[in-house]
C-alpha cells in the first residue's frame, strides 16, 4: 500500500516565498488522493541559526515540531517541502535515533516524550512509490511533451548521506523519474547537486554571486529549456537571481539565459491541466507561463 497520509510541516516559507510550491503541491496531492494535515502549533526549524547557536538548540527546535506531529498523527511521516527544513528535521531525527541516551537528552530539551518513530520526508519522496507513479501517469491530461528540463536538487536534500539517504548524493534520479511521467524530457547534466548558496544570500551575498550563474549555465549548456527544483530556497534564489546572472553575462558579451525555474510540482500540476493561476507559475520572477503553455499545446492527449 502506498503511503498517502502525511503530517505537513510547512516551514516559514510555505505561505510566503514558497507559496507557489505549497499551492502546486496541494493541487497535485488532492488529485493523487494524498491526505496532508498540517502539524498543529509547529515552530520554525531554526534554519542555520539554530544549530549555529548550539547543538542543543539545533536539535530541540525541529524535535519540538516532530514531537507535536507524533502526538497528533502518530507514526505518519512528516512531510517537509523546504529542503532547509527537511535537513534540519532529518538531522534531529537521526540524532535522536543514535542512541537511547540521545533521545532522552533531546526529550529533556523539549520537555516532551518524543519517540522519534515517524519518518521525515522531502517533497519528492511521496512520489517515489510505484503505485503513486502509476496514478500520477493516469492523471496526466496535458503532457509537457518534449519539454527539456534540468532537474535540480541542490545540496540539502541529498547530503550528508547518513542523514538524507533518500537518493544518490552525486547523481540522484528521483525527480527525473517523476517528471518523465509528465511527458517532459529530463536532460543529463552535471550540476544537479551543486549548492546554489541560498542559505547565505543574506550575510555574504557578494561571495554567493557566481554560484547561481554557473548552475544555470550548465543546465542551459546541457540543452535544458527549464529548471525544476524541489526547494523554495533554491527556487527563490535561482529564479530571482537569474537576472543578475544575465547582467554579468552581458558584461562578458554573452546572450542572456532564458530559463524559467519551476517547482517540480508546478510541472506535474501543469501536466494535469492546471490553470496558470491555480498552480503557482504566475508568481515567478523569470517569466514561466509561456514555456509551460507552449509545451502543453504540443502534447494534446489523443
Amino acid at each position: 500500500m502506498a503511503q498517502t497520509q502525511f503530517a505537513f510541516f510547512p516551514g516559514c516559507s510555505a505561505h510566503s516565498t514558497g507559496r507557489a510550491y505549497t499551492e502546486s503541491f496541494m493541487y497535485v496531492a488532492e488529485r493523487l488522493g494524498f491526505e496532508v494535515s498540517e502539524i498543529p502549533e509547529w515552530n520554525c526549524c531554526g534554519a542555520s541559526a539554530g544549530h549555529l547557536r548550539s547543538h542543543d538548540l539545533g536539535d530541540a527546535l525541529p524535535a519540538r515540531s516532530l514531537a507535536l506531529s507524533e502526538e497528533t498523527f502518530g507514526d505518519r511521516p512528516v512531510l517537509a517541502l523546504c529542503a532547509g527544513c527537511y535537513i534540519n528535521l532529518r538531522r534531529a531525527l537521526v540524532h535522536a535515533r543514535r542512541s537511547p541516551e540521545d533521545l532522552a537528552r533531546i526529550d529533556g530539551l523539549i520537555g516532551r516524550e518524543w519517540k522519534a518513530s515517524a519518518e521525515v520526508m522531502n517533497g519528492l519522496e511521496p512520489f517515489m512509490d510505484p503505485e503513486v507513479q502509476s496514478r500520477l501517469s493516469s492523471c496526466v491530461t496535458r503532457p509537457l511533451k518534449g519539454l527539456k528540463v534540468a532537474c535540480y536538487y541542490g545540496c540539502a536534500m541529498v547530503r550528508p548521506r547518513d542523514v538524507c539517504a533518500f537518493d544518490d548524493d552525486e547523481d540522484p534520479r528521483s525527480m527525473e523519474r517523476i517528471l518523465s511521467l509528465t511527458g517532459a524530457e529530463p536532460v543529463e547534466w552535471s550540476f544537479k547537486t551543486e549548492c546554489c548558496g541560498a542559505s547565505h544570500q543574506v550575510i555574504v551575498q557578494r561571495d554567493m554571486k557566481p554560484m547561481v550563474g554557473r548552475i544555470l549555465e550548465n543546465a542551459a549548456a546541457a540543452g535544458a529549456e527549464a529548471v525544476a527544483t524541489a526547494c523554495p530556497l533554491c527556487m527563490l534564489n535561482l529564479d530571482m537571481r537569474e537576472a543578475e546572472a544575465n547582467r554579468q553575462r552581458a558584461e562578458l558579451g554573452k546572450p542572456p539565459l532564458r530559463l524559467p525555474v519551476y517547482y517540480f510540482t508546478e510541472l506535474i500540476a501543469a501536466s494535469f491541466g492546471g490553470k496558470a493561476d491555480e498552480i503557482g507559475i504566475k508568481r515567478h520572477f523569470t517569466p514561466a507561463v509561456e514555456t509551460v503553455e507552449a509545451a502543453r499545446s504540443q502534447g494534446v492527449v489523443a
Binding site: 552525486e170 547523481d171 552535471s190
Partner: protein, 660 residues
C-alpha cells in the same frame, strides 16, 4: 611411577643464584620421584649421556629436566630420549630455572625456593603425561596452482622444472592474467607481452604442467601432503583434442558485437573466440551466453565451417577429483569497480573517462586503436590528458583504505607513454604522494617530469563534461589554488582489489583473509608466502597489492617451499593435538565454531552407550589440520575435548602443586 629429576648448573648461569643441589634434594621428596641428580651442562654430550644412563639404570618412566627455557632445548632433550633410550620422548617436562629464575632473581634463597616450586610443577605435570607418537604422513608430490596469471605461471614453471607435476587452473579461457594485457612494464619499458607470452607457451609445453582453463576449484578436503581437490572444468563446446586452432570459426561467427573482455570493452569479439591471438591454450571456446546456437538452436555456422569437426554443442562441465600435496593460491586481483562508487567522476557515463587498464589497451600496438592514442568517444587524439591517481585507493570513505602500490609507477608510465606518442599534448597527473621505492623507480618518475608531465598535488573532486571535453576540478594543494583543467581524456588509476570469488575460495581452503579481502600470510615478515593452513601457499597480488617484479619473486619463493616439501616426501605430524572423548561429546558444535583451522567437524558415530547401540552426532578431530592450540578444549563445556601434552589434568596438577 618412576620419575627422575635432573637439575642443571648451566655452569654458574643457574648455580650462581640457585642452590641446585638443594633443588635436587627437595625434588626427591615429591610424589613419584625416585631419582634426582645435577649436571654441570645437561645439554652437553657428557650431560646427555649421564641423563640417558640414569634413565636406563633406574628404569625411569618420566623425566623432568630443570634447566634453561624449553624454547631452547626441549627439542634437543626429546630427540636425545627418543634416540638413546627406550622412553617415549613426550614423557619429558622442562622446568625453566634459568631464563625465568636464576637470571632474573638475585636473592639465592628466593631463587632456590622458586626453582623448587618450578620443579614441583613440572613433576606434577609429567606425572599426567602420556606416551605420544608422531606419525609420518605421506606427501603426494603433485601441486595445484590456482590462477594462471604471471604469479601462477612462474610458480608452476619453477615447481615443474624441479620435476614435480603441476596442475595450473585458470578461470578464464586463457592463462596470462593481467600482465598479458599490459603494454609496457616500468621502469625498463620492455614490452609486457614479449616477456609474458614466452612464459605462457613454456608452461603449455612443459610436460609436467597440465593447464586447465575455464576451470574452478569446487571443493577441497584433507590437509598438507594430501589435499583432495575437486575441479570443475566448464564446457568449452570445442574438442581440444581435435581442434587445430586454425581460427576459421572465429572469422565466420555471425555474432560479432560482444564487448571484448581482453580489450576492456574497447573492441568487440565473436561468440566463438580466443580472447587474444597468443592465448594459451591456443584454441577457441564458445561463449554460451551469446552463442545463437546454444541460446536458440538456430545457427551452427562454426560447426559447418570447422575443417576438423571439433565443435561439440552438447559439451558439459567436467568434474574431476585429484590428490595434491600442496596448493598455491595465485588468484590475483581485479580493478575496483569505480563506476558504482564515484558519482563525482560521472559513474561511467562519460566515455572519455577511462581506467588505467583501458589506457594500456589503447596504447598497445595490438590493441583496438593499434597503438594510436585515440579517445573512445570520437576516436580523436586527446591534446590534454588528465591522469588521476588513488581512485579507490587510500579512500576508506568510498573505496579501500590501503595503497595499491603499483599505481604511482604505472601512472608515471602512462604519462610518459602519452607524451611520447602525443608530443604536442599536455599531461596533468593529480596525485597525493608519489611512491617510487624500487630499483630504478624514482629515476623513472624524474624522467617523466622531464618529459613534461605536470604533477598537481591534489585529489580531483569532480569531473564533468563541458563542450566536447571534460573539466577536472581540484585544488593544487601546494599553492592553495583551486584549479579546473579542461581535458580531452581522463585516465583513472584505480585500486587493486581481491579477485571476485576470493571469499569463497578462502573458505574452501580455510585460509584467512585480512579486512581488505586479501589472503593473510602466516607471518608478515618471516613466513610471507605460507598461510596458517599448512600446505597452502600464496603468490602474487592474492596476498596483497604488488608489482610484477615482487610478484615473480614471491612466486619463486612459493615454488621453493613446495619443492622443499616434495623433496622431503613426508611430514612428521605433531602429536600434541586435540583429542575427543566421544562418549562425553554432545555434538553441540562449540568447538567447530572456535577452531581456526577447520580441523574439527561433526560426524555421525555408532557408539555403545548403556550397552545399547546408538548413532549420534559427535565431533571429530582432523589430525592433519589440527595445530594444537587448545582453543576447542576450553570451548568444550563438558570436557570431551582435551589437548594432548597440555591436558586439563596436567595443568590442574601443576596448579594444585603450586597451591600446596
Amino acid at each position: 611411577m618412576r620419575i627422575g629429576v635432573f637439575v642443571c648448573h648451566c655452569g654458574s648461569n643457574i648455580a650462581g643464584t640457585v642452590d641446585v643441589e638443594r633443588v635436587a634434594r627437595e625434588a626427591l621428596k615429591l610424589p613419584g620421584v625416585v631419582f634426582s641428580d645435577t649436571n654441570k651442562y645437561t645439554c652437553s654430550a657428557p650431560g646427555q649421556e649421564s641423563v640417558c644412563s640414569a634413565i636406563k639404570e633406574n628404569a625411569l618412566d618420566r623425566v623432568v629436566i630443570a634447566s634453561c627455557s624449553p624454547r631452547m632445548h626441549e627439542a634437543t632433550f626429546r630427540k636425545m630420549i627418543a634416540e638413546k633410550t627406550d622412553l617415549n620422548p613426550y614423557m619429558l617436562e622442562i622446568a625453566n630455572i634459568r631464563e625465568q629464575c636464576s637470571w632474573v632473581h638475585k636473592d639465592r634463597e628466593q631463587g632456590t625456593r622458586k626453582a623448587c616450586d618450578l620443579v614441583a610443577m613440572a613433576v606434577a605435570k609429567v606425572s599426567c603425561d602420556r606416551e605420544l607418537f608422531t606419525t609420518n604422513l605421506p606427501v603426494e608430490r603433485r601441486a595445484l596452482v590456482i590462477g594462471g596469471g604471471i604469479a601462477g605461471i612462474q610458480a608452476a614453471l619453477d615447481i615443474a622444472d624441479a620435476g614435480f607435476p603441476v596442475t595450473l587452473v585458470e578461470r578464464e579461457s586463457s592463462i596470462g592474467g593481467k600482465m598479458v594485457m599490459l603494454d609496457k612494464t616500468f621502469p625498463t619499458m620492455d614490452c609486457s607481452a614479449c616477456i609474458c607470452t614466452p612464459k605462457m607457451s613454456e608452461a603449455a609445453e612443459n610436460p609436467n604442467i597440465e593447464i586447465k582453463s575455464l576451470t574452478e576449484v569446487e571443493s577441497v578436503s584433507g590437509y598438507i601432503g594430501s589435499f583432495d581437490v575437486t575441479l570443475r572444468e566448464k564446457a568449452k563446446y570445442v574438442d581440444y583434442d581435435v581442434c587445430t586452432g586454425c581460427g576459421l570459426c572465429e572469422t565466420k561467427c555471425p555474432t560479432k558485437k560482444i564487448p571484448s573482455e581482453f580489450n576492456q570493452g574497447l573492441s568487440t569479439r565473436t561468440a566463438i573466440y580466443k580472447p587474444f591471438p597468443q592465448a594459451v591454450p591456443s584454441k577457441p571456446t564458445i561463449d554460451a551466453e551469446h552463442c545463437k546456437k546454444l541460446q536458440s538452436g538456430k545457427c551452427g555456422v562454426c560447426e559447418k565451417v570447422c575443417p576438423t569437426g571439433a565443435i561439440r554443442y552438447d559439451d558439459v562441465d567436467r568434474v574431476t577429483t585429484q590428490r595434491y600435496g600442496a596448493i598455491v593460491v595465485a588468484s590475483g586481483y581485479e580493478l575496483i569497480d569505480w563506476t558504482g562508487l564515484y558519482g563525482e567522476y560521472g559513474a561511467g557515463r562519460y566515455p572519455d573517462v577511462i581506467t588505467g587498464l583501458q589506457f594500456e589497451r589503447i596504447v598497445n600496438a595490438s590493441g583496438p586503436t593499434e597503438g594510436h592514442i585515440l579517445r573512445p568517444s570520437d576516436r580523436t587524439e586527446p591534446k590534454t590528458t588528465v591522469i588521476v591517481k588513488c581512485v579507490g585507493s587510500r579512500d576508506p570513505n568510498k573505496g579501500v583504505s590501503y595503497c595499491s602500490r603499483a599505481c604511482c609507477m604505472y601512472a608515471a608510465k602512462h604519462a610518459h607513454q602519452y607524451l611520447d606518442k602525443v608530443p604536442d599534448g599536455t599531461c596533468y597527473v593529480f596525485y597525493m604522494d608519489v611512491r617510487c621505492a624500487g630499483k630504478g623507480y624514482d629515476e623513472f618518475y624524474m624522467r617523466t617530469l622531464q618529459d613534461g608531465a605536470i604533477y598537481v598535488r591534489g585529489r580531483v573532486s569532480k569531473i564533468y563534461p563541458e563542450g566536447d571535453g571534460l573539466v577536472c576540478m581540484g585544488e593544487d594543494t601546494l599553492s592553495g589554488e583551486i584549479v579546473r583543467v579542461k581535458a580531452d581524456m581522463v585516465v583513472l588509476e584505480t585500486a587493486m582489489v581481491p579477485s571476485r570469488g576470493s571469499d569463497v575460495l578462502a573458505s574452501k581452503l580455510n585460509v584467512q583473509r585480512g579486512p581488505e579481502g586479501f589472503f593473510t600470510e602466516a607471518h608478515p615478515k618471516l613466513r610471507p608466502v605460507e598461510t596458517n593452513t599448512a600446505g597452502v601457499y600464496l603468490a602474487g597480488v592474492a596476498q596483497g597489492p604488488k608489482d610484477i617484479p615482487d610478484t615473480v619473486a614471491q612466486a619463486g619463493a612459493v615454488a621453493s617451499k613446495v619443492i622443499g616439501l616434495f623433496a622431503r616426501g613426508q611430514i612428521e605430524s605433531n602429536p600434541m593435538l586435540s583429542k575427543v572423548d566421544v562418549s562425553r561429546c554432545s555434538g553441540c558444535r562449540a568447538c567447530v565454531d572456535v577452531c581456526p583451522y577447520g580441523a574439527l567437524g561433526l560426524v555421525q558415530a555408532n557408539l555403545r552407550e548403556n550397552s545399547r547401540k546408538v548413532t549420534r552426532t559427535v565431533c571429530q578431530v582432523n589430525e592433519g589440520l589440527c595445530q594444537g592450540c587448545g582453543a576447542c578444549s576450553v570451548a568444550c563445556r563438558s570436557g570431551a575435548l582435551d589437548l594432548l601434552g597440555f591436558s586439563d589434568e596436567g595443568i590442574m596438577q601443576e596448579v594444585e602443586m603450586l597451591c600446596q
